[in-house]
């Protein structure tokens, strides 16, 4: 039997997309008040984006669903002929990757600062056709579930009385499992493990305001691995991730039902290190990283007693991946937030 896996991988944006979903679950911001008579901003609280300005503790539980089952090359759908030629040249062709994430978050907001601790639990399954031609003649799959990479994010918001802007600094810890194996016992690629094995620094900022009767926010973050892990003696460095999220909603403080529209842009640099996915078999370009833009309609329902329930779906607007990668048709996130005063 010929080996199914060649070491060439297309990890796509599974990590980046998970991050977007997690960020979404976090950024259900707090209070933007549109001081009607004075032009003050009414609601600066975008909790679903992690921008919480309500003082005190809050907990958040979010579920996200991400199914990557579309073969994409660059900005277009990959044709069967292209997939076959890549595989014939020795490039692995993956079948699907499905990731479900439950993220529990604890938030504390003080006068000018706040902190978020995010603990994800991932359930991930993956299938690959490997490098054996013809396509489908061999198949391997894997399935794993465990706690993922825990992150701790701090915020400083003391730039204005309304706390409409802030800086973000945090760290992602290598707490996720890196031991997932295929059904034949071979290890799954580093990019497909529950955890990246790396310790990452996260830096960013956000600002929010109102225009007429609508509230808006913009949030940007950069994630960079500062300590990496070796896989079977080979270093693996996840590519830097640049995220930009912006959202719009009716600027009403205390609205029971709040529709919201977001755009989520993520650019991820190719992974690095000898354990990373090998380059494109035909062109030699990196086979990881790219740029994705999502339109994300959603809504929040305030149930009373400090409880709010939210959900949104991310629909791809623009996808530009390096080489051949699996991308999702949509992602789904639902969650519940409980504030304590």
């Amino acid at each position: 039997m010929q080996p199914v896996r060649s070491g060439r991988r297309r990890p796509a944006f599974r990590i980046a997309l998970t991050m977007i979903a997690a960020c979404g679950a976090l950024a259900h911001a707090g209070q933007a008040a549109a001081c009607a008579a004075c032009g003050c901003t009414l609601s600066t609280n975008w909790q679903t984006q992690g921008i919480n300005t309500t003082p005190g503790f809050s907990v958040n539980l979010a579920y996200s669903y991400l199914s990557q089952d579309q073969q994409r090359y660059g900005t277009g759908k990959a044709s069967s002929a292209l997939i076959n030629s890549l595989q014939a040249a020795g490039q692995e062709v993956e079948a699907y990757t499905k990731t479900q994430t439950i993220t529990a978050s604890l938030n504390y907001t003080a006068d000018t600062w706040g902190i978020n601790v995010n603990v994800p639990y991932l359930v991930r399954s993956h299938g690959t056709y490997g490098t054996t031609t013809p396509l489908g003649s061999t198949y391997l799959d894997s399935s794993d579930s465990s706690i993922g990479d825990i992150s701790v994010l701090g915020r400083y918001t003391g730039f204005s009385a309304q706390r409409t802007a802030g800086l973000i600094a945090g760290i992602k810890l290598p707490t996720g499992s890196t031991n997932t194996i295929f059904n034949d016992g071979t290890p799954v690629d580093p990019s497909l493990q529950i955890g990246t094995g790396s310790t990452d620094l996260i830096l960013g900022g956000y600002t929010s305001g109102t225009v007429s009767k609508y509230g808006w926010f913009v949030q940007g973050t950069v994630q960079h691995a500062i300590v990496t892990k070796s896989f079977n003696g080979l270093d693996y460095r996840p590519g830097d991730t640049y995220s930009l999220n912006t959202g719009l909603r009716a600027a009403q403080f205390g609205a029971r039902f709040s529709p919201m529209l977001q755009f989520n842009l993520v650019h991820r640099r190719p992974d690095g290190g000898p354990a990373a996915t090998a380059p494109d078999a035909l062109t030699g370009i990196p086979a990881t990283g790219g740029t994705l833009l999502y339109l994300a309609p959603g809504a929040t329902w305030r149930a009373g007693g400090g409880t709010s329930i939210y959900g949104f779906v991310q629909l791809p607007v623009y996808q530009n991946v390096n080489s051949l990668q699996l991308v999702p048709r949509y992602t789904l996130t639902v969650g519940v937030n409980q504030a304590f005063e």
């Binding site: 009414l42 009385a161 029971r256 789904l332």
Partner: protein, 165 residues
């Protein structure tokens, strides 16, 4: 089941969850509230029957909110047939609220408000926002922006043009 069908099913399930929550959650209205003030006294519309009631939403960082406070405090002092209740929202620490109440020598109770309380009054689009109730407990309407003593005097005399339904 195709992928599209599964997507539609998931969206339908999400919508069903949101709608069912909205259907079974308590529906508070602007005329069924109960507010616990910082002085420990609970105020409700029923308990204030026979008095005009003005619920005034404000924030510590809102200049027009602070500007109208002396007028409201003076009005409260001279009109015992009206009860003004200040509801502070979007504050960052409770002492921000109590410090202002002390500095402005407020003569009416102040509530530590939040989004849920604002929801009970139908939400707020701007600050300050004030809601006026008749002695019979009927909501006259709301006023966005600072109130003048003249507008309040007119309202008590039956001219409630400053308050929109």
């Amino acid at each position: 089941m195709t992928k599209v069908q599964r997507f539609v099913m998931r969206m339908a399930a999400l919508l069903a969850v949101l709608l069912s929550v909205s259907a079974f959650s308590p529906t508070a209205t602007a005329d069924s509230w109960s507010l616990l003030a910082s002085n420990g006294i609970r105020y409700s519309l029923d308990g204030l029957h026979g008095k005009w009631v003005l619920v005034n939403f404000w924030a510590p960082w809102c200049p027009p909110c602070l500007a109208e406070m002396p007028d409201l405090a003076s009005f409260q002092e001279h009109h015992k047939n009206m009860q003004i209740i200040g509801v502070a929202v979007m504050y960052h620490a409770r002492h921000d609220v109590t410090d202002i109440a002390k500095d402005k020598a407020l003569t009416y109770p102040v509530v530590f408000g939040n989004e849920d309380i604002a929801s009970d009054f139908g939400g707020i689009s701007g600050l300050p926002t004030s809601l006026l109730y008749t002695p019979a407990g009927k909501l006259v309407g709301r006023h966005e922006g600072p109130l003048t003593p003249q507008q309040l005097e007119q309202a008590l005399n039956g001219s409630t043009a400053a308050f929109q339904d």
